[in-house]
Symmetry: D2
Subunit: 310 residues, 4 copies
Amino acid sequence: MTTATPFHGLVPPVVTPLGEDLTVDVASLERLVARMIDAGVDGLFALGSSGETVLLDDAQRDLALEVIVKTADGRVPVIAGAIEPGTARSVQRARAAERLGAQAVVATAPFYVIVGPHEIERHFRSVAAAVDVPLFAYDIPVCVHSKLSNDLVLRLAHDGVIAGVKDSSGDDVGFRQLLVQVAAEGLSDFATLTGHEVMVDSMLLAGASGSVPGLANVDPAGYARLHAAVAAGDVAAARAEQERLIQLFRIVDAADPATSAGMTRGAGSFKTALHVLGVIDSNAISLPLRALDDAESGRVREVLESVGLL
Amino acid sequence: MTTATPFHGLVPPVVTPLGEDLTVDVASLERLVARMIDAGVDGLFALGSSGETVLLDDAQRDLALEVIVKTADGRVPVIAGAIEPGTARSVQRARAAERLGAQAVVATAPFYVIVGPHEIERHFRSVAAAVDVPLFAYDIPVCVHSKLSNDLVLRLAHDGVIAGVKDSSGDDVGFRQLLVQVAAEGLSDFATLTGHEVMVDSMLLAGASGSVPGLANVDPAGYARLHAAVAAGDVAAARAEQERLIQLFRIVDAADPATSAGMTRGAGSFKTALHVLGVIDSNAISLPLRALDDAESGRVREVLESVGLL
Amino acid sequence: MTTATPFHGLVPPVVTPLGEDLTVDVASLERLVARMIDAGVDGLFALGSSGETVLLDDAQRDLALEVIVKTADGRVPVIAGAIEPGTARSVQRARAAERLGAQAVVATAPFYVIVGPHEIERHFRSVAAAVDVPLFAYDIPVCVHSKLSNDLVLRLAHDGVIAGVKDSSGDDVGFRQLLVQVAAEGLSDFATLTGHEVMVDSMLLAGASGSVPGLANVDPAGYARLHAAVAAGDVAAARAEQERLIQLFRIVDAADPATSAGMTRGAGSFKTALHVLGVIDSNAISLPLRALDDAESGRVREVLESVGLL
Amino acid sequence: MTTATPFHGLVPPVVTPLGEDLTVDVASLERLVARMIDAGVDGLFALGSSGETVLLDDAQRDLALEVIVKTADGRVPVIAGAIEPGTARSVQRARAAERLGAQAVVATAPFYVIVGPHEIERHFRSVAAAVDVPLFAYDIPVCVHSKLSNDLVLRLAHDGVIAGVKDSSGDDVGFRQLLVQVAAEGLSDFATLTGHEVMVDSMLLAGASGSVPGLANVDPAGYARLHAAVAAGDVAAARAEQERLIQLFRIVDAADPATSAGMTRGAGSFKTALHVLGVIDSNAISLPLRALDDAESGRVREVLESVGLL
């Protein structure tokens, strides 16, 4: 469970609190980050999918990253997304992240533009070559509509192009196979982070070096306990904590499915929970998403109560 | 075949010629645009998918649009893409397009971020409200991974949110049904533009108000003849011209499939053909795509010769 | 528009009328077939998707085919589906069809079982080798979840494995390209049949040799007029008839979308229309589909009235 | 880990050995079954995907099931697939399975025919009502192209329609959530079986009641040791055995990807491994699949050697 890189353990993807005018709410973001660090997270992932990065402009992104880096204040490392459809803009964002103090950057496969494996590989190699900090590959086919093959991930790992992978592919079978290959091929420094909130115990037990669960914005202490239980070899305690978090994850069903979809339900419910918990001042979220309304917030509150967070 | 909007007839999506340093090649772009206007196109679509817009940064986009507007010089209207994953950035691009002289803007459904019909509708309404020029909806599920329903398109049309649709959905069945509904519901000003290079005659005969074929970069005169033949009621001539253009479209098979995919093969072959024809100085293309190599360019040349363009 | 095979022109896929006990209603089927022949169809496709073939057992299939062949009585040729997940059972059905008097058989790519292009090609070659009548390839990715490439279709055509293709792929772009290749490669005997109800005029004008519209069960005379108009070069009349049929096709929206999907809405509405028109005795349909209820039948009736069929 | 139904623990889906004439090889099947029972499996799943059931005709299916039931001889229960596109034929197969001695039947969602949740639910309810033995729902979207929602599975469980689920969905996130709901809702008799070869330890530790790994045809003793380790609380031993089996699973990469796909590579490599191991007489497989050739068999042999099976 130890790796040579500083990026292992619990590394939540930080949501980006917004005011009603949809600009970054600095004070709320500071509280959110401080609460996670106090809870014992091992790192922070800024400007990821949960952070609404593709919905923000560069000024808002820079501001959010600056606040996160400043609030972390060296206590935990910060990874920052450089998530753009193509290479040139991803490079610009990677350089901005490096300049603003991120200790690593994260890129996805290109999106919108139709690509194949060769274009994807060229993208990662180009972004990595443009910065001095390590690059992580973010495998998220539900957003970019292509899947990183294990062959590609391993080749980029061996070539020193990427320092790790964040797996949000939904393909736990493939990720499990990757874990075995990473070990078999002696890539002991390569970080293998699962992004799936409900499978963290399983993947840590299977050898993953860490997790990046969006739900840890809401309950960082719970995920910290889960990681600690696995590290202590207490499988039963890990499973119990994981199952409590699976119950908490039902907040994503709070929004009316007749008028909401996708990230309105996901990041929208995380923000609503944080608002209900008093951590952030508003559950505002970038267009075209919408904030959960009062009835929906009430359902989020019920779930929070049911798992002991309220 | 006439509409009240100025956006009908042949409106090619302009590719963005680049130098070897991957910045906009102004002189090549001027030649490209002038050649299309001389060939008789009815409008120009700047900063679309074929124009690599999602791969360019704002400075390059602004430059490309300025050159196109200046070269068009009011002879034909210019539509410009405002294609970004979310609403705020699409609004920024729409306003930039308006400021730089575009007579209309074009937006897709949001992408990367997971959305449903309500989020998509909110996106179009927000972009339309932010500018004074008309908005077109660009239906391109192969890039954004959601399909605009005919119900949504018709509702936005009736509400004056969108002035037309560019259909690159591949769903010609749905587009044909849309054409019938547009006529049945009295939306005579609503522009219905097909983006499918090989179905232009069919869709014009079925009542579409125009076409936006990427291949018209390569052979604008051919598409102009095709439009003229349909307007003249000469179905046989239209079909013959269309079939010649279908043969020309085989340039997209020139790139080695073992090392290229998607837009490397599409826009990459258009640029290569324009380079072989002497219209633009280089077939350079934005990363992560790659330019076609000499062997591949040779295959493009053969196709150009076979249809009489060389 | 003429081909050397007898399979061209209007070849509706015959629905299979059922009694309330879900066995074949012979009398209704006889009336249905007689009505189509009287309306001027050029052939009949038995045991296709619209005919619920995958939902019927062999005894019911044999009965349906016997009734169709007997009622056709040599006036028009009968093609019969041999549609099974794998090769051995498709061969059995192809032989049964041949034995029962079908003049050609139709097979899809394998389904349920996961296959690639080599497995698909082996399937068609094996079925063709097992019978003496011609084989048609049925391209219907929405059911089998793989698409026949034009390269494969053309190779099988040149090798004499298949005598034609029924295109229900939704990929009209690809079908248009196929039509051009079929002509360019001198395959003048190869039948190219479109299965898309709303694109028949376009595809006939583009050179398709015929159509297989499920909606022609409901209005065979309309489709016969459409074919005749194209044959006569009267493009305006063809388009007007096609647009009337597009309005008729809205019967597929009659079933409540909250409690129905897919083929319940498709073949279910065709059967309901035929029942409303008095052609068949019941709109019963195989499980797991359900028959449209009275309210839904009322909406079908309204559409029938709106296009002049009632 | 105990359930009230007899269907828990290790329940491999039995491949169907064939002779060169593609009929069931009875002697090989008897050896295969005996070897698995000797290795300690808890049940057998006949006529599943790995058993090529959709590629076999009814006579071959009946024969295979008879041999399996007879060879099992009551030592372990036998579940049998009733996997057909629609309801009537699934009912026929379910009744045949019951008649031939299966102690439960397994059905998938309908396939080929386009359906939604209501049609799927009707299918399971109809099949369950037709037999006296328990019904299992087989969730395999890669074959049937629809996913069973957890809501549907839980509703059918509460209503006594299904006795368990076999999850081959690839959606381990959803399956983990299902496990939590099954426990939370007091469905202690409901069987939850994972079909994913590489995630058996994780899912057993998460509370699944058993596994149905196709790879257990090749190494039933390995999977039996894995189950035993989990039952004994020896997480490290379970993981080590699982990782050995993940290495073994690489036999599915033995077939040349340029000329094989899907089930040729999957069940084809299982059969080849069994042939190399001397368990079955031939690696013949139903058309349109193909048997692995000598070079490919050599690669299978290498993998078998690397994990100690040879």
